[in-house]
Amino acid sequence: MAGTNPFPLSRDELLKCYRTMGTIREFEDRLHIDFGRGDIPGFVHLYAGEEASATGIMSHLGDGDRIASTHRGHGHCISKGVDVVAMMKEIYGRKGGACNGKGGSMHIADVSKGMMGANGILGAGAPLACGAALAAKYRKKGEVAISFVGDGASNQGTFLESLNLAAVWNLPVLFVVENNGYAESTSRDYGTAVDSYVDRAAGFGLPGITVDGTDFFAVYEAAGEMIKRAREGGGPALLECKMVRFHGHFEGDAQTYRGAGELDSIRADQDCMKKFRAQVTAAGVITADEFKAIDREVLGVIENAVKEAKAAPLPTLADLTTDVYVTY
């Protein structure tokens, strides 16, 4: 049975996607530990558990395609190709970080990779993605923009206004609602009057679909069709990825609002990486040993990133007042 690949990605692409998901997982799990030790300053929001969404979507994008991310942006950054060492340095507040230590976890960006920034203001990325899509429309190269938003921030006016603007201007933008069930600590049942995000799209005349965000292949295929449609002028759409968050809203969150056994059960049954491995090994395309080898390789990559981050110099007084303006 080995040798034939049933998936819409080549073996190499599958390996690459797994490596990306694994890098995100290890990056986040390592931050969880290092934050607990007091090594990391500030606020950190981890993406672990949600890797299939970022990776499944970003597999369809190039550097010319822009994304506007959220406060939970590390996974989006890594899957969009932002350098992991530069990210780690940034989170440690070091010179040579992705933003030279001036942004931190919530503001990592790399415009050269089409990553327009994680964003500390919930819902703020949606209008920006509309702008990126507008620029793409003028450039006429078939580029698209992706706006990521959580289930909580989808209640922001900015998000709803952006759905309308994108529909009115027929922008090549895909709105991705990463629905992990919690707006910080508040359940989506409480905070969202109609907690179907597809219905919001329908309210603006946009097609929307819901996929199991813990199933890489479901995300990959659905996002692929929607992105292709946007590139060809078919306009905006909304993709709801139902997913789970393995860590708290931020690091330091004791998560006492969760039901008994909830975390154990989602880690056991809804781990997107486990599901990916199970599907791909069952098809005989990649062996369990090959996956383990990638896990080891990723561990080394993150270990090295932490080492480099800790060794990197801190910014100094001379850096405090630079980069406010291009000219002033």
Binding site: M1, T4, P6, F7, P8, G181, R188, D189, Y190, T192, A193, V194, D195, S196, V198, D199, A202, P207, G208, I209, T210, V211, D212, D215, F217, A218, Y220, E221, A222, E225, M226, R229, A237, E240, K242, G259, E262, S265, D269, Q270, Q279, A282, A283, G284
Partner: protein, 351 residues
């Protein structure tokens, strides 16, 4: 109104799938999206209707897709307005937002002794209920994409029929009808599943976004019934060689893209808004009880429109039509009988 002939508390179940009609066909084929608010309105209409017929208690599947949360809000408002509703009890289960929720809810409702289960969904949701619970009569309300199985009908009428049956005003002989299904077995029962309308063999070999819409990947169709007015892959059979829902036997259709083996090209509505040409090699009747071996070496079996079971070289896939497999509430017959027998007449003085 005649008094209910049964003295124990009749209860019914409602399984409302929040994510039916939410798949990729919204994007590739402009398929409809029934909003959560509308699904909740359907449930509310079912509730008030069965309450008016004396059903005091309704069990509901909880979900994390918006139906429970919105329904609870609405029920609180209805309570403030002093409107009559049955007692609504959500099953004690943790929703996973997968088809497992429907499986579990169906089993729990069966164990709780509900008289009937009202199902809101498409073919796929109905299939999931029947798979776990094939002896409690179901009454389907179409809220899905490919709705060959549940009929299009105002939920009030369906709820009236369910209420008549659940309260014992109609007997099983008067109210119920038996249906066909397809039993799918891989490697002599190593993996088993069912389909209510169609089991489709595709050369796709992974589950992905589940829906099937690429005609070039289709290899064979096995159908319990084939209605020329149906939408979805069963329409291929329906437009080729109609087989009624109540007729004996089913239909197997073998497809081919290859002009050498293709007997004809057929145009069919394989998804809402998608009329496509499909190459037909041949077709044959499916007598009940006879296993049909699947010829394709490796691929996926889609059950009622969704890719479900991947198989590879060496796997033996068999598909068998079963008759009298599970009961549904025959709404049309229920209402005709009710009219004939005057079940809704409140007084006989004017007759």
């Amino acid at each position: 109104m005649p008094t209910a002939s049964r003295t124990d508390t009749p209860s019914i179940g409602i399984i409302a799938n929040p994510v039916s009609a939410r798949d990729i066909r919204r994007v590739i084929a402009n398929a409809s999206n029934l909003q959560i608010a509308d699904r909740v309105n359907i449930v509310l209409r079912v509730l008030t209707t069965v309450a008016s017929l004396g059903v005091p208690r309704v069990l509901m599947m909880p979900d994390r897709g918006g139906i429970r949360a919105m329904l609870q809000r609405q029920l609180r408002r209805e309570h403030n307005l002093h409107h009559t509703f049955p007692e609504v009890e959500f099953l004690d289960m943790e929703p996973t937002s997968t088809v497992d929720d429907t499986f579990l809810a169906a089993r729990m409702m069966r164990a709780a002794g509900v008289r009937s289960i009202v199902v809101l969904g498409g073919d796929g949701t109905h299939r999931a209920v029947v798979r776990e619970c094939n002896d409690v009569p179901i009454a389907g309300l179409s809220t899905g994409t490919n709705n060959a199985f549940p009929e299009m009908r105002e939920s009030t009428i369906t709820a009236m029929a369910v209420g008549l049956y659940a309260t014992g005003r109609l007997t099983p002989e008067q109210a119920l009808v038996q249906n066909k299904l397809l039993a799918i077995s891989i490697n002599d029962g190593e993996r088993r599943d069912i389909a209510l309308v169609d089991a489709v063999i595709s050369t796709d070999r992974y589950i992905g976004a589940r829906a099937l819409w690429k005609t070039e990947s289709l290899s064979a169709l096995y159908l319990t019934f084939a209605d020329p007015q149906a939408i979805g892959l069963s329409a291929i059979g329906g437009l080729l060689h109609p087989v009624g829902r109540r007729e004996a036997g089913g239909l197997a259709v073998h497809l081919s893209d290859d002009p050498a083996t293709r007997r004809l090209l057929l145009r069919a509505p394989i998804a809402p808004g998608m009329v496509r040409e499909v190459g037909i090699a041949h077709w044959e009747p499916m007598p009940a009880g006879q296993p049909f071996p699947v010829a394709l070496q490796a691929g996926v079996v889609a059950l009622d429109g969704e890719r479900e079971m991947a198989f590879d070289a060496g796997d033996r896939v068999r598909i068998t039509l079963r008759e009298n497999a599970f009961p549904t509430v025959d709404v049309a017959r229920c209402m005709q009988t009710a009219a004939r027998e005057g079940l809704f007449r409140l007084s006989s003085s004017t007759t």
